[in-house]
Symmetry: C2
Subunit: 515 residues, 2 copies
């Protein structure tokens, strides 16, 4: 059994069952091992950013890692932007990156590069394999690293000869690491803050945002009067009917500052103190009032559900019933075709347990607002700000949850970064409905241009933020990659297309032409 | 004048006149500065790999750097694969990468990452700017670094406040660094090798491959009997009528080993000793016989033309006339539609001074062979092995040389990595004819799978290397991005479409359906 085969069986033994691949010559023994295997599904992407984004979506929804198979430094580079997002999302991912044979590196062949150096910034854990014999152990260590809760990016760099040389037998299953619980002090201090009568916000993220966590926090809020909020961009936000109310922090500092005004205490659960996405001249970076008391109940890697349970007990709130959101019918959108009418329709016909992947940027608020009281669903956001996450992440979510409809809300500009994703959706016949909001500009940047006080609104400046001229045709591009597609120029057209998409299986795309 | 404005004017003062951009919020002051400027042309890419690949093509053809404008770590990551190629090509490029304001970095906002760490592996020179006052000097240093012959990747990381704060006046033009000449020993030793009667190959690359260098080497070959060869993948290879004969080293070690068999001496000019692209079990990595004497006349950063001139004089060959290639008409292709008949047509109607960008992989040999005796042209190859170079590089070549036709020969698999490039071609109305060889598979990998001895040819294995199912339609994708496109299913159809493309201006795409 060669290194590749033993590595692969070790991964399979430890619960890894999907590989998002874009291989090259140095990965051929791993390709062959996957080809001979029973327990590893291989899903091909035409670009590595598709693979890593898909692994992010898979990790968020499956709660365990998929692996990617990438071709040396350039393959990793192409996947890095979505690994950046996944790292900020704390998604579990294992990257298998082929490298030149150990004895070939000294020749500085064309594909030689510093893969360890490229891996560090987008990984929590990096290991360069030294021999075929050590590869299975390294692979198991990568699983352990990826499974550190809520998840980590583990990158394994595999020289070609470590894949093709003889190796040891595959390693059996090992238990995932347990998630550390917080100290009693953290709980006691939080309880004290929540009973001192000062205006308090409990800010949730990661494991502090699960359905279970939401229920516990809601009870805490009932006895303490604290407000419950979450970060602007969250890895996975359970919402809609049956979930509890969680207010999302605004993106712009003007909004966020207004939301948190008067707050004297911030308790973080599974996340850290909120800050501005970008700095702006003359504006504060912190999203909390000066002098606000900051308390971390649990950070992202600690057991938030346990901490909340103990806090709830300390406040004698365990026996309360959480206040759950009721389904509210608002009807489909009508009138002008815009993000709000589209959002109404998205919400009205949202299937139970749908997964919404949101990279709609300035066009996303309409759907987010309307879906607050729709059928229960999960909302996945762009956690790292790196554009081109929505389409690939939808692939991974659909692979992890084949029985759930995925709705991908996407801006036209952002969609072009990883447009190749459509082909993988067609190839795997994934149940994804892509809604493209086509405003033909980088609208967020036109907003930001004014906000940062960059005082040039010349035609040349605005042209740099305009993606019309020529207008793109997403219907043609989508059909070119095998995904059926239609264009909506009125809300009635959108309603028909969306309803049809919700009632049928398989990938489709709706291009919404915004006025 | 703020930092961005003074930086920009400093770049313009030093000959930088094109910026390939994909900006975000942290780059808005640079966008505004470009918008207000007279001397900087801005060309938008929908993905950063388009921008960096374009800068590579521009640098190869203009012989001076363009700049890119990229958005923090993820923007750099998306551009990194083509920077890898550009670095291996020794292309001059200046990357302007926005970063968070210096005081904002400590908050670890979503887009925060180790940009210096990400830059190192794909740059020759990296500088993180510390203040608006130092930015103009840093910008000038980046130009100097990029202009180290034949070219370097210079990366300047610019925190947002260094762009928006007040700065000093722009700096005036400074001379580019001179290229060091080789020592007399190098010349004398080479002359000795060339007169000792042993079978010798002179291997050319970079500045050793210019039209002028070729002429000098040809005279040296006439008196010494040495063979003239070049690397498999070259930055820029002047070929066709009026140029000298240079044999290209084969890609596969079987080919290359056969080509160099019996050679006892290798003299490198502007390049290094040839090695295999990948390691293969049981095959040597070196592309030269054991015991072959290796001599570097000039490395990539030394003045190859000067060294060759001195060597030519030392061999008393200066007065000879170089043997120049004659134009040979072969007629257009006929019969089956394949890479060889297509190549015949490509060669037959190749316009004078065309630029051929080659990422055709297993479909490229036909055109390379046929064009050997066509009109004079430049041939640009994939120097770093990172797929997705051809379309972006064609953009840059067309921007650098608006009066020359660019023909981009591309495999279908590789084209999908940076397919967004088509939109920029349409937007800028660039004179590029893209020929897609659609074989619906990663054919090179099917070849390599067998060659590395990875013994699995199961359907699952081959599916991982197959990009049919569904077949892509490049005509639709191209039209979706505003580039006129047609499909050729016979050689007659191809001949008509190609001839029409050569006779008209502006971007177009021909999808060649290979049997």
């Amino acid at each position: 059994m060669n290194g590749a085969e033993s590595m692969l069986q070790t991964l399979i033994n430890n619960g890894v069952e999907v590989c998002f691949t874009n291989p090259g010559t140095s990965e051929m023994h791993m390709v062959a091992a996957i080809g001979k295997s029973e327990g590893m599904r291989s899903i091909l992407g035409l670009f590595e950013g598709v693979c890593t984004g898909a692994a992010d979506g898979y990790g968020r929804m499956a709660g365990k890692p998929a692996c990617t198979l990438l071709h040396l430094g350039p393959g990793l580079s192409n996947g890095s932007a979505n690994l950046h997002n996944a790292k900020k999302a704390n998604s579990p991912i294992i990257n298998l990156i082929g490298d030149h044979a150990t004895y070939h590196k000294k020749y500085d062949a064309p594909l030689t590069s510093d893969i360890v150096g490229l891996s560090g910034p987008v990984s929590h854990w990096v290991k360069s394999v030294e021999s075929a014999e050590s590869l299975p152990r390294d692979a198991l260590d990568s699983v352990t690293a990826a499974n550190v809760q809520p998840g980590q990016i583990a990158t394994l760099i595999i020289p070609a000869n470590c894949a093709w040389d003889d190796s040891i037998e595959p390693l059996p299953r090992e238990d995932a690491p347990s998630t550390p619980c917080v100290s009693d002090d953290r709980v006691t201090d939080a309880a004290a803050l929540l009973t001192n009568g000062k205006p308090t916000i409990i800010l949730l993220g990661n494991m502090g945002l699960t359905e279970k966590s939401q229920c516990i926090v809601d009870k805490i809020a009932q006895v303490s009067g604290a407000r419950i909020m979450c970060d602007t961009f969250t890895t996975r936000l359970p919402r809609g009917e049956g979930r509890c109310e969680v207010e999302r922090l605004g993106y712009f500092s003007e909004q966020a500052t207004e939301q948190v005004k008067g707050t004297e205490q911030l308790i973080m659960v599974g996340t850290k103190a909120p800050v501005a996405f970008f700095a702006y001249p003359g504006k504060a970076s912190e999203f909390y009032p000066e002098g606000c008391d900051l308390h971390v109940l649990a950070d992202a890697n600690q057991n938030a559900e346990d901490a909340l349970t103990r806090l709830c007990t300390a406040l004698s709130a365990s026996d309360l019933a959480p206040r759950k959101i009721q389904r509210q019918k608002q009807g489909a959108g009508s009138g002008e075709l815009n993000q709000f009418t589209v959002g109404q329709t998205v919400a009205e016909f949202l299937p139970t347990d749908a997964i919404v992947v949101d990279e709609a940027a300035t066009s996303g608020a309409g759907s987010f607002i309307s879906t607050a009281t729709s059928e229960p669903h999960d909302w996945l956001s762009l956690t790292g700000g790196s554009i081109g996450f929505g389409l690939p992440t939808s692939i991974g979510a659909a692979v992890a949850c084949p029985d759930r409809k995925v709705i991908c809300l996407h801006g036209d500009g952002g969609a072009m970064y990883t447009i190749q994703s459509l082909w993988t959706m067609a190839r795997e016949n994934l149940d994804v409905c892509v809604v493209i909001f086509a405003n033909r500009k980088y609208q967020i940047l036109q907003v930001e241009l004014a906000r940062v006080g960059a005082q040039s609104m010349t035609k040349k400046t605005l042209d740099m933020l305009d993606i019309g001229n020529p207008d793109m045709n997403f219907v043609k591009m989508s059909e070119g990659m095998g995904v059926r597609a239609n264009r909506a120029e009125t809300i009635e057209e959108f309603n028909d297309l969306y309803l049809d998409a919700m009632r049928t299986q398989g990938p489709c795309l709706i291009e919404v032409i915004l006025p």
